[in-house]
């Protein structure tokens, strides 16, 4: 598949994803040996999923519930 590097894809789309209420972050993961886009959310809900893309420029998007991310973690 001809697609841009995932680093570039993340750099392009992260600001827009972080602007969605409930999104805490993004990252580069892997599934089945293939790179995937990970979107971290405070809580995984159908409403939020409906607003998230299923793929970005040829990379599958996987949603992970991070919870509220704190330092210190509580």
């Amino acid at each position: 598949m001809n697609r841009p590097p995932i680093t570039d894809v993340l750099a392009r789309h992260t600001p827009g994803l972080l602007a969605l209420k409930g999104v805490t972050g993004t990252g580069e993961g892997a599934a089945g040996g293939q790179p995937i886009v990970v979107v971290f959310v405070r809580q995984d809900t159908p409403e939020l999923r409906a607003r998230l893309p299923r793929s970005l420029e040829g990379y599958r998007v996987v949603v992970r519930a991070s919870g509220e991310v704190t330092a210190p973690p509580r």
Binding site: T24, G29, R64, V69, A71
Partner: protein
């Protein structure tokens, strides 16, 4: 890092008070000279009984003079086998001179506790990495990550929000081990291990990569680069990769194992003073670190090569700074 809701300003509780409390709770000292056997068969200790209250008052009055005696390390109130109150005098060694046989008519009993050491160092061995630490100006507890070196001098590595109070600290501030959150009673002052030397400020307006700080061990401190989890970090770092098996030793959850699930992570992190955005981070499962593990060093499962500095988490994911930028920001190397 774990933090109590508010720093108690009652910092000057004496060892005597702490030991008296411990005695009332039937706390045990771990010295081989523990006197517990002589007190073990006693009836139930009732701290509200008139005689015990009177004995504690006598103990409190006598404590300053007792602590002034060479070899006395603390006092307490207990009861003997017959249920009668006694004032306990804890000593570093046997046959300490000039101890009274009774105080205000309450008999004394001597417990040779030996030199009392913090719980973080059972047996009085060297201070290990992966154990509790904190800034002395807050009642909190994080983790000593590892020993790093700069210009031939050793430093302890942890997070800014563990050593440097989220940007608020001044260089030179006192760093304790364990952190005050782990004191008995909670928030009491704990032994000093280091002084804050340097930290990377966390920005709340631009992207961050690291939440890190170093503290210089105090002169004469007995410490080790070994982690309490039973390994010593290698000096050569390894870059994070998805699927890499890693482990860490932290103050709360001890030795845990996990797999890196994502890299190049952008994550918004809630601090006391606001939300900070971190980029180029490492993500592991949520149970990899717990509250109080902040500052622990992530290393490879095989080889013990440093990979990241754990600093934040939520219920479903944990996050670490990549170790390369941490070392670069502070100008240090893993010892």
């Amino acid at each position: 890092m774990r933090r109590s809701t508010r720093l108690s300003l009652a910092l000057v509780l004496t060892a005597a008070a702490a030991l008296a409390f411990g005695c009332g709770q039937q706390g045990r000292l771990t010295s081989p000279n523990d006197h517990a056997s002589a007190l073990s068969a006693r009836p139930a200790f009732d701290p509200s009984s008139v005689r015990v209250v009177a004995a504690m008052a006598s103990q409190d009055r006598a404590t300053p003079a007792l602590l002034a005696l060479s070899g006395v390390v603390g006092t307490g109130t207990s009861i003997d086998a017959a249920g009668d109150p006694v004032i306990v005098v804890y000593t570093e060694r046997a046959r300490v001179a000039n101890l009274p046989e009774a105080i205000d008519g309450v008999p004394t009993t001597v417990v040779v506790s030996g030199t009392v050491v913090p719980y973080a160092r059972p047996g009085g061995g060297p201070l290990q990495m992966g154990t509790s630490t904190g800034n002395d100006l807050e009642c909190a507890a994080g983790t000593l990550g590892c020993v790093v070196v700069k210009g031939g001098v050793d430093y302890f590595l942890s997070n800014n929000h563990v050593f440097a109070r989220e940007n608020a600290a001044s260089l030179g501030e006192r760093i304790d081990a364990p952190g005050r959150y782990d004191a008995h009673p909670i928030c009491n002052q704990t032994p000093q291990c280091a002084n804050l030397s340097q930290f990377q400020a966390v920005s709340f307006s631009s992207n961050n990569t690291v939440d890190c700080a170093i503290a210089r061990p105090i002169s004469g401190l007995n410490y080790s680069a070994a982690e309490a989890g039973g390994y010593t970090p290698a000096s050569t770092t390894v870059a994070a990769a998805v699927g890499l098996a890693v482990k860490k030793t932290g103050r709360t959850s001890g030795l845990t194992h996990g797999t890196i699930e994502a890299i190049n992570v952008t994550i918004r992190v809630q601090y006391t003073d606001g939300i900070a955005t971190f980029v180029n981070q490492i993500q592991t499962p949520g149970n990899f670190i717990r509250s109080g593990d902040s500052g622990s060093l992530m290393v490879t499962e095989t080889g013990n090569n440093p990979v990241g500095l754990c600093f934040a988490g939520g219920s479903g994911a944990s996050f670490a700074n990549p170790i390369g930028p941490v070392l670069q920001a502070l100008g240090v190397a893993i010892k």
